[in-house]
């Protein structure tokens, strides 16, 4: 392998040309075939039982996500102009291609169930906008009397009214999102118009996140270039290192495009991984080269390059293969985008390896060695007592302190891990004072809530939900859950029946209860169907009354809120199962919750799996199980601290933050392999532990510091991002790099040192 690579340097022009052609080719494929996938449903494993059920239930009850438009008039909404706006905006929304007419709910489309002298009636609140103040007051009173509307579509202070447009999740696009915003703007003044709801939150995120990244990435790359220049002290070396990263990224995305796999949100993490890992290969190569040239200033270009290949091909291949295997372990994930992320990052890592071993030597042959001007001999001597060896001596001298510090940091982190919580919330990804969060707060403070949890009750028996006992159970469950502060209100078939029972008994309060007999329930429902548009009924009960949909409005979309509601609902399982009724959940909020759990479980499983694989691989590579175990230490430390910090600093786990632990594997392995490989070489060569430590610190230690510095500096730039998830990304990548580095040169080194590995044999000899 080494010889092959050395021979290859003789054909540097051909190598460079073919690398270039290959990249141009893949770049063309990437440009013409790349497709972004923004439909969140595509991310979910459709065969998972929770998703299968939810998707079915969404069809049964026409459950969709709602765009919420709030119209506020500080003088009150009951004037002709504002009511006209409600009607016009409702009609404009109904006319939009993406929205079905019957999916828009407002004061204009709502049914009003009212009691009349001798019966009941279901009619709209208005068809033509009332001009005369008396009629407006009449309408106001009608709304006040109907608690299915008052507090739900009209705020209690009567200054705000809502229009809810439900859409299927596959129709949402950036263009549609902007059209909605523009449309609502047209109706501004004197009324204020607010737009909220989960499609809008997701839309804003899908728009803001990448836009922010586009701004930040060039700065990140610029900083990385500057730091590389400072550390490598060579334009050629910097350029070649960057080309390795760039080419491996192009090939990875090119391959994705070629096999028709779209770019998912998590795919944007691939370049992040490749920067962190690809830079490492280059730095280690140049670090080795630099040391060689320092020692042999008169060596020829070919000799220097041959030595670099000879000394480094093994660790580069070893680190890359173990890293790739670590990423491939993500294949066990049930979430396709993460599976793909694992496979393609692994591919990218291997490409970075190939380019490091082929492109870097060829480039150096072609354009010459970096022109390092080393300081005079005198200083060289001085720097032999460099920071690395000072540090290594200190670590060995204070070995117990080092171990104690490590253990205490791990202990604190484990406490932190206990506090880690998963958040599937989209809203929590925005700044607390951003428009979208404030709008959501505003609507939540006046209405039931902007987030929805659908509880599906499922019976095997036809007409089960005409049974008053079951309806009463539902009513009790609703009352129970509504005691939670984050639950604004709820809505079910029971509410319809209570309302009708009351109305049919001359609006007497004591009849605001579920009717006594199954027949009366059935007859009320028939009456409702005969009086109004039964379409609304099918949102809460299915055609044969075997299933009902109980809708809860929550004031927060975060996982804690939804879980607390589910906690109370679950207590009702025994009562319902006694009646042969099963409880299930549906809706995008719930799916998000399940999805995040899946990601987390998958992530932890793949972390464990990759840890085992890495230990085995390292043991085989270094031909010692102990080396494998020691090599796994930086990975474990990095992962534990990463999760610990998230828990301690209240950073919830989400799709991106969970994936970041993969960096722990990627980087942790790299550092460990480089370090152990060097340690082994020097140990066998010198047989002196102190000298081995010093040399290893100088060689690998230095490269590891450089690598960590470059990536940390680059990613710290993301802390300036305006988009909180991108800030978390920057902070966590930097943290992972830092802990990997410190863990490798301190505790892992100490363990190597104390284990006497690679020395026993020497002594015997």
């Amino acid at each position: 392998m080494g010889n092959f690579l050395k021979k290859l340097t003789k054909f540097n022009k051909i190598v460079l040309a073919s690398v270039l052609i290959l990249n141009v080719g893949f770049f063309m494929i990437m440009r013409s075939n790349t497709r972004m996938e923004t439909d969140l449903d595509e991310y979910m494993p459709q065969e998972h039982p929770a998703f299968v059920y939810s998707n079915q239930a969404e069809k049964w009850f026409n459950i969709k996500d709602g765009i919420i438009i709030a119209i506020e008039n500080e003088e009150g909404i009951y004037n002709s102009d504002t009511i006209q706006k409600v009607k016009d905006l409702t009609k404009s929304l109904q006319k939009m291609r993406e929205i079905e007419k019957s999916d828009v709910t407002s004061l204009y489309t709502a049914d009003n169930i009212i009691g009349t002298e001798d019966g009941m009636d279901v009619r709209p609140f208005f068809k033509r906008v009332p001009k005369d103040p008396e009629k407006l007051i009449k309408m106001k009173n009608l709304v006040r009397d109907n608690d299915m509307i008052f507090g739900r579509l009209v705020s209690y202070d009567e200054n705000i009214t809502l229009i809810i447009a439900e859409i299927k999740d596959d129709v949402f696009s950036q263009e549609f999102y902007h059209r909605i915003l523009e449309l609502s703007k047209e109706y501004e003044g004197p009324e204020k118009i607010y737009v909220a709801g989960s499609p809008i939150v997701e839309g804003t995120m899908a728009y803001l996140g990448p836009r922010d990244m586009q701004k930040m990435v060039p700065i990140v790359i610029l900083i990385i270039i500057i730091v590389l220049l400072v550390l490598l002290r060579s334009i050629k070396a910097t350029l070649l290192t960057l080309l390795v990263v760039l080419f491996s990224t192009i090939l990875t995305f090119g391959l994705m495009a070629a096999v028709g796999i779209p770019i998912y949100a998590v795919s944007t993490m691939i370049p992040v991984m490749l920067i962190a890992i690809g830079v490492a290969d280059g730095i280690h190569l140049f670090s080795h080269l630099h040391l060689y040239i320092k020692k042999n200033p008169s060596a020829s270009r070919r000799d220097a390059i041959n030595d670099m290949i000879h000394g480094m091909w093994k660790p580069v291949v070893m680190t890359s293969v173990t890293t790739a295997v670590g990423f491939i372990s993500l294949i066990t994930s049930q979430v396709y985008p993460i599976k793909y992320f694992g496979i393609f990052t692994a591919f990218g890592v291997l490409m970075a390896m190939v380019f490091s071993l082929v492109l870097v030597p060829a480039g150096l042959m072609m354009f010459g060695l970096p022109g390092w001007k080393d300081k005079p001999e005198k200083e060289e001597k001085k720097s032999r007592k460099n920071l690395g060896s000072v540090f290594s001596t200190w670590v060995v001298k204070h070995r117990y302190l080092t171990i104690i510090i490590t253990i205490s940091i791990i202990a604190v982190s484990i406490v932190g891990i206990g506090k880690v919580w998963i958040n599937s919330s989209f809203l929590d990804k925005f700044e607390k004072d951003s428009d979208i969060v404030l709008t959501d707060k505003f609507i939540n403070s006046h209405f039931g809530g902007t987030s929805t949890l659908n509880v599906i009750l499922d019976s095997k028996e036809k007409d089960a939900f005409k049974d008053p006992a079951l309806l009463r159970l539902i009513d009790e469950m609703q009352a129970d859950v509504e005691t939670l502060e984050i639950v604004g209100n709820s809505f079910s078939l029971s509410d319809y029946l209570k309302r009708m029972n009351k109305v049919m008994h001359a609006d007497k309060k004591e009849f605001d209860i579920i009717p006594d007999s199954r027949e009366l329930v059935a007859q009320y429902l028939l009456l409702y169907e005969m009086s109004g548009d039964p379409e609304n009924l099918w949102k809460v009960v299915n055609y044969d009354y075997k299933k009902v949909n109980v809708i809860f409005q929550l004031k927060s979309d975060n996982s804690k809120a939804m879980k607390s509601a589910i906690g109370i609902i679950e207590k009702r399982i025994p009562g319902f199962s006694e009646k042969g009724v099963e409880i299930n959940y549906a809706g995008s909020g719930y799916k998000g919750l399940v999805f995040t759990d899946l990601i987390l479980i998958g992530q932890i499983l793949s972390l464990l799996l990759s840890l085992i694989i890495v230990i085995i691989l390292l043991s085989l590579m270094f031909k010692k199980v102990l080396a494998g175990l020691i090599g796994a230490v930086p990975i474990v430390i990095t992962a534990v601290i990463s999760f610990g910090v998230m828990g301690l600093f209240n950073i919830p786990l989400s799709t991106t933050t969970a994936l970041l632990s993969s960096i722990a594997i990627g980087i942790g392995i790299d550092y460990a392999v480089h370090f152990i490989e060097r340690y082994k070489i020097y140990a066998l060569r010198t047989g002196d532990k102190i000298l081995t430590s010093e040399k290893t610190m100088q060689h690998s230690g230095r490269a590891i510091v450089f690598n960590a510095l470059v990536v940390i500096a680059g990613f710290l730039v993301l802390l300036l991002s305006v988009f909180p998830p991108n800030r978390a990304l920057g902070a966590l990548v930097s943290l992972n790099m830092f802990t990997s580095f410190v863990g490798t040169v301190s505790i892992m080194y100490l363990l190597l040192f104390m284990s006497n590995i690679y020395f026993k044999k020497n002594k015997k000899n």
Binding site: D121, P124, K127, V521, A522, L527, M530, W538, Y543
Partner: protein, 258 residues
């Protein structure tokens, strides 16, 4: 049987039409359908099947009596099934007077009370079906402007194709197109277009029969193409002009049930 004065009017106008070479206008064609003699009274069993977009079906069987009282047509319906609504009865009075809404009452046996349903308009849907009261034949011809657009053979019958545009711009349909069988005056097919001129529903008559010299529709189907919801109506055991007594339509009969 309905709107006798219009019939008289038509009779007076008939010679004028004859002069024009028997070419009927859209309004005359629709008038002929509206005024087609369906007997003084009728009774029968109505099976109403409601099928939603997922193919779930609900079936209701109803016994109905209809009688023409001159200025008002009275209809009483008793639910036979499903069991939990058995004996629920429904009375509808439809007036010939222009613009006058129907009066409706319902008797819920579980509540033991007759309640009045004040229907807000004839564009309400009938018992959760895809038919509005207007669609069931209540819409007065003068409410629309009719235009004969062509004549063609449809389902083996020679038909007039008439387009009707409502005079009231706020009406739920922007227009309808009807295929009317010549001489039998049965609307064989009708397309309904919504406020935005999009096709909303299609009505098809599947079966009609000549009973005692009168053309009676026995099977029809309405498909709401936007909601993908279908209603099938089927009449059986139809008796025409059997001499239903007036007391069949009283509150006492509503409460007595079948």
């Amino acid at each position: 049987m309905k709107r006798l004065h219009i019939m008289v009017l038509s009779l007076i106008l008939l010679p004028a039409i004859a002069i024009n070479g028997a070419e009927l206008t859209g309004l005359q064609i629709v008038d002929n359908v509206y005024n087609r003699d369906t007997g003084k009274d009728s009774k029968g069993n109505l099976t109403m099947s409601l099928i939603n977009s997922q193919g779930n079906e609900r079936v209701r069987t109803i016994k109905q009596f209809i009688k023409d009282f001159g200025k008002v047509e009275k209809k009483i319906m008793f639910f036979m099934s499903p069991a939990d609504v058995r004996n629920t009865s429904f009375v509808n009075w439809s007036y010939t007077e222009e613009g006058k809404d129907d009066d409706q009452w319902i008797y819920l046996p579980a509540l033991k009370k007759v309640k009045r349903i004040s229907s807000s308009s004839k564009s309400d849907y009938f018992m959760g079906s895809d038919f509005t009261y207007d669609d069931l034949g209540d819409r007065q011809p003068e409410a629309d402007i009719h235009k004969l657009i062509r004549e063609e053979k449809f389902n083996g019958e020679q038909c007039y194709v008439v387009e009707s545009v409502p005079k009231d711009e706020e009406y739920m349909y922007s227009r309808t197109v009807t295929w009317i069988i010549k001489d039998k005056w049965i609307g064989l097919k009708k397309e309904f277009y919504d406020e935005d001129e999009d096709l909303l529903k299609i009505l098809s008559v599947k079966k009609f029969e000549n009973i005692k010299g009168l053309w009676i529709i026995l099977q029809s189907e309405m498909v709401n193409v936007q909601k993908k919801h279908t209603t099938k109506m089927q009449l059986s055991e139809v008796k025409i002009n059997s001499g239903i007594p007036d007391r069949q339509f009283t509150e006492r009969m509503m409460k007595r049930g079948l």
